[in-house]
Amino acid sequence: MIAFWIVALFALVGALVVVLHRNPVYSALGLVLTLFQVAVLFALLDAPLLALLQVMVYAGAIVVLFLFVIMLLSLEPEKRLAAPFPVAVAGLVLAATLGFGLVVSGTLPLRSGVPSRLPADFGSPESLATNLFTKHQLPFELTSVLLLVAVVGAVVLARRRS
């Protein structure tokens, strides 16, 4: 329980840094902090494989790309941080509504037939892989196509500049 509260605290701090800091480099580092806490949370929730993948994919690749682009463009800290006041208020209202809705939906009773005990290999690489390569074979193949499209798209976009 203590572990969860530590995770939650740092995740929220990181998220607030992302949203509120003027300097995009700090925003990216706040994002790393939050993503790392999410990885720890995955480990706490019986998803050790996802926790490691989270660190590898998000912290190791995605945020590094963000930082790389920020550095490449030598972005300065923003002078005007935010949208005008009404928009900010609208954003706050939207966020509060969404958050409230999610909290309410989270407290609704789950569907019946919930197992009282998890199987011993829940979250292990084997069980994830079995599920992925049998029940979700088609989406898996489609994702690989999607990745290919993304690679080609990124290369085309980057090439056109010269």
């Binding site: 050790p48 930082l67 490449l72 690489p125």
Partner: protein, 368 residues
């Protein structure tokens, strides 16, 4: 009692890596001197030079770190002070943590307890190593950006591009080893290498995955940013790259991170390809030579032998990296990128594909 053993294992792993870095510092200075036909570090001496022989090792073992930690810590005025302070820690913590999952022995049997000799026995330790290796890039990025200096910045950008490029080859080589042994657990991989091929040759990973060994070694050296891949800190072009603006203890932490990375690459090569702590023909009960000849040994002696074997292998591969560093000139930047993406990556992909086919055809392929 369990807690005590866990703590003891953590201390052992930590001491190995700390002492290894200091030893490597000396080996690198003396080794480079050997290669360049110099004498090398020979000034510091115990007992005021009263000893008849030179104790150059003391120089770097104690004097160098002490000297560095006493130097003034300079932070450039225009630097981002918080991130400048943070970068060395970000650089070194993931590397230290990586060593926790490297097995340094089979099991230790003491008074009814059977202790698995790996500091943090987690099931997917191979992925853990990859995850931590992917975090190592942050020290370079943050250090290079926070210094607010052109040279640091260039070094940071170069380091980022290089490290994320070579991480692919590194991952692919490890994937093919995982496919071969069918487990994500480094300790299990090390144990599987205790078998014998045709009852004679130890079933080490190098005999199954020679291509992956070459890939891992090259990509690992590129990850540790040392010659011939030291573009991020190329002293003849960009002063010292991402740690140009660092001094004193922070600089020493960055340099230490370099040596820890060498240690990790050596530990990975040892564990994945050269049997880890395995001594050829040494089982838990003693030596079992192919001819049927056997020597029974007590459990403690077996464990000690394995530990020593691990350290010796670790050191051999560290030395090999130092040898490469002082033998080869630096690559040109476009060659570096082309080599990573157009040579190592396709080679790694082909190797993974071939391994998968072999595993399917021969049902596991390795000795069971």
């Amino acid at each position: 009692m369990e807690v005590f053993f866990s703590l003891a294992k953590i201390v052992v792993a930590f001491v190995i890596i700390l002492q290894l870095t200091l030893l490597l510092l000396w080996v690198e200075r003396k080794g480079s001197a050997l290669i360049q036909d110099r004498v090398g570090a020979n000034r510091a001496n115990l007992f005021g030079g009263l000893l008849p022989f030179n104790l150059g090792i003391v120089n770097t073992w104690m004097a160098d770190p002490l000297k560095l930690f006493h130097k003034e810590d300079i932070v450039p005025t225009e630097a981002d002070h918080f991130l400048h302070w943070l970068a060395p820690f970000v650089a070194i913590v993931p590397l230290f943590v990586t060593f926790a999952v490297i097995p340094f022995g089979d099991v230790l049997r003491v008074g009814g307890y059977t202790i698995d000799l790996v500091a943090a026995p987690i099931p997917a330790s191979v992925l853990f190593v990859l995850a931590m290796a992917s975090l190592a890039v942050y020290g370079v990025v943050i250090g290079g950006w926070a210094s607010n200096s052109r040279y640091s910045f260039l070094g940071g950008v170069r380091g980022t591009a290089q490290m994320i490029s070579y991480e692919l080859a590194l991952s692919l080589s490890i994937v093919s080893v995982v496919l071969t042994f069918g487990t994500f657990d480094l300790q299990e991989i090390a144990r599987a290498q205790g078998q014998l091929i045709w009852g004679v040759i130890p079933a080490w990973g190098v005999f199954y995955q020679p291509v992956a060994l070459i890939l891992l070694f090259i990509a690992g050296m590129a990850e540790s940013k040392r010659a011939p891949f030291d573009l991020p800190e190329a002293e003849s072009e960009i002063v010292a790259g991402f740690f140009t603006e660092y001094s004193g203890s922070k600089l020493s932490v960055f340099m230490m991170a370099d040596f820890v990375e060498i240690g990790i690459v050596a530990a990975l090569v040892t564990t994945l390809f050269f049997g880890g702590w395995q001594v050829p023909w040494l089982g838990r009960e003693g030596f079992q030579f192919p001819g049927g000849f056997a020597i029974a040994l007590p459990s403690l002696v077996v464990t000690l032998l394995q530990f020593v074997a691990f350290l010796v292998k670790l050191f051999v591969f560290c030395w090999l990296q130092i040898l490469v560093r002082w033998s080869l000139p630096r690559m040109r930047y476009d060659h570096l990128m082309a080599f990573g993406w157009k040579r190592l990556l396709p080679l790694g992909l082909v190797n993974v594909g071939l391994t998968a086919v072999l595993v399917l055809l021969f049902d596991g392929w390795t000795v069971k």
